[in-house]
Symmetry: C2
Subunit: 245 residues, 2 copies
DNA sequence: TAGTGGTCTAGACCACAAT
DNA sequence: TTGTGGTCTAGACCACTAC
């Protein structure tokens, strides 16, 4: 039981636990560690890598949270059986498409400063009728229409421009503006397409659509974005991985 | 800055970090800690509670993972702004309904041992055509039809009975059988109802339905259940909370 | 009985933000 | 400069599993 080759670089600014976690994750993804395979124990790994047990433990816990491995007291740590799929986590549709090898493009339907509608104000935690940026986009994947996305953002954070929005995802623009998204609450449902939506997306009126509303918060716990999106159900679905702590 | 009253019981079998996390979560839910409020620093909390810093840190990290608070180096720890909603995590529809104060009931449409269909075999990591239990249920909430749920389980784990299934959720039965679900991969989408589905659920044919397929694994990293469910979109949606680590 | 992961302690140094 | 969270160490005891 030697396991994959793992090496840490103590001069790197990347935390040691993260280096270890990444290398194990890569080994699992590569198939170097097969489903059901056992990892060395924490103590053994700590010894092998020249790290303390808490640091090794931190790395392993990271992989448990990602749903890649399972641990049992008295037994050991094993790679989860079955093929590994990746969950979407906190990325934007734009980034998801890029990762999947599809070419995202965007047509900005609307970009304006408006008084905040009451439901959105409640979600964002801003006063009703305070000014927010309102944004409506049509997103394509490889030239095929995929989603209509409507978003609201408090104005005092980042100034959006049509130019930027055409070539980038919203989260990318926020990131470039120094806003770090740290978490979000999402509600996922389904409904029938309205006539207007159907026309934009090349579906029939009444076609089933996947809907997602999301409110995302940043570093400071301030909500920075509320979105209401609809996706063509025939072309898109969401993946979620859940792991207990 | 004194914060809510937190007390730990060192004689309890409940881990100290968990006791602390639970009490903070309750204080936030109660509104005792309001959105934006600052928590005491780790060192101060450790001092107040008579715990070590790593233990306090563990408790706080637990709350970050749940999306209740946000931390910034050099700044502090704050309750997330905006109302707190709970995410579904690893519960079953049965439990979700109970928690929401609705009365779940179940009609078992099918329960049989069958050769495993190839897609399901791939998901569960069992040989194709090996024997599995196949299960189809119609779930009601307060007497209204809500979902059609189809599941496959390897036979060697738990024996299902119609009696048990009528009064309990599948996960409850598994739990009672000593199977601990530790994680799952879920795919959420939407599609139109077939004629048969529409009839069972009291919808029109072609009505938009929310779909979820889930593969859940246990303690040992073995996949123990694969499900394909459809929900009436007018009556059900899924909530997901995502937080970065 | 031996080995595993789960919990807990008491320190340390650092990067970062606010002042 | 001060205080914060982020990382890391080197131990310890325990509950649980497998043998």
């Amino acid at each position: 039981m030697s396991g994959p080759e793992i090496a840490v670089d103590r001069s790197s600014p990347v935390p040691l636990y993260f280096q270890v976690a990444e290398q194990f994750a890569a080994a699992i993804q590569r198939g170097d560690l097969a489903p059901g395979d056992r990892l060395d124990s924490e103590l053994r790994l700590a010894d092998q890598l020249g790290l303390s047990r808490p640091t090794v433990r931190h790395a392993i816990q990271h992989l448990v949270d990602k749903g890649l491995i399972v641990r049992r007291r008295g037994v050991g740590t094993h790679v989860v059986r079955g093929e590994v799929r990746r969950s979407v986590e906190l990325t934007s549709l734009h980034d998801d498409l890029l990762r999947a090898g599809q070419r995202p493009s965007t047509s900005v339907l609307e970009l304006a400063t408006v008084p905040c509608p009451p439901e959105v104000a409640a979600a964002l935690g801003v006063p009703a009728d305070s000014e927010v940026q309102h944004l409506r986009r049509l997103r394509f994947a490889d030239g095929e229409p995929l989603a209509v996305m409507e978003n609201w953002l408090p104005i005092d954070r980042v100034r959006l421009t049509i130019d930027a929005l055409q070539g980038n995802g919203l989260y990318g623009i926020l990131r470039a503006g120094g806003i770090r998204i740290r978490g979000a609450q999402q509600r996922i449902g389904a409904r029938a397409a309205t006539g207007a939506e159907a026309q934009m997306l090349g579906e029939r009126r009444g076609a089933p659509m996947l809907t997602m509303t999301r409110t995302a918060y940043d570093d400071q716990g301030h909500y920075v974005e509320h979105g209401a999106h609809i996706y063509r159900a025939t072309r898109y679905s969401l993946e979620v991985t859940v792991a207990e702590r």
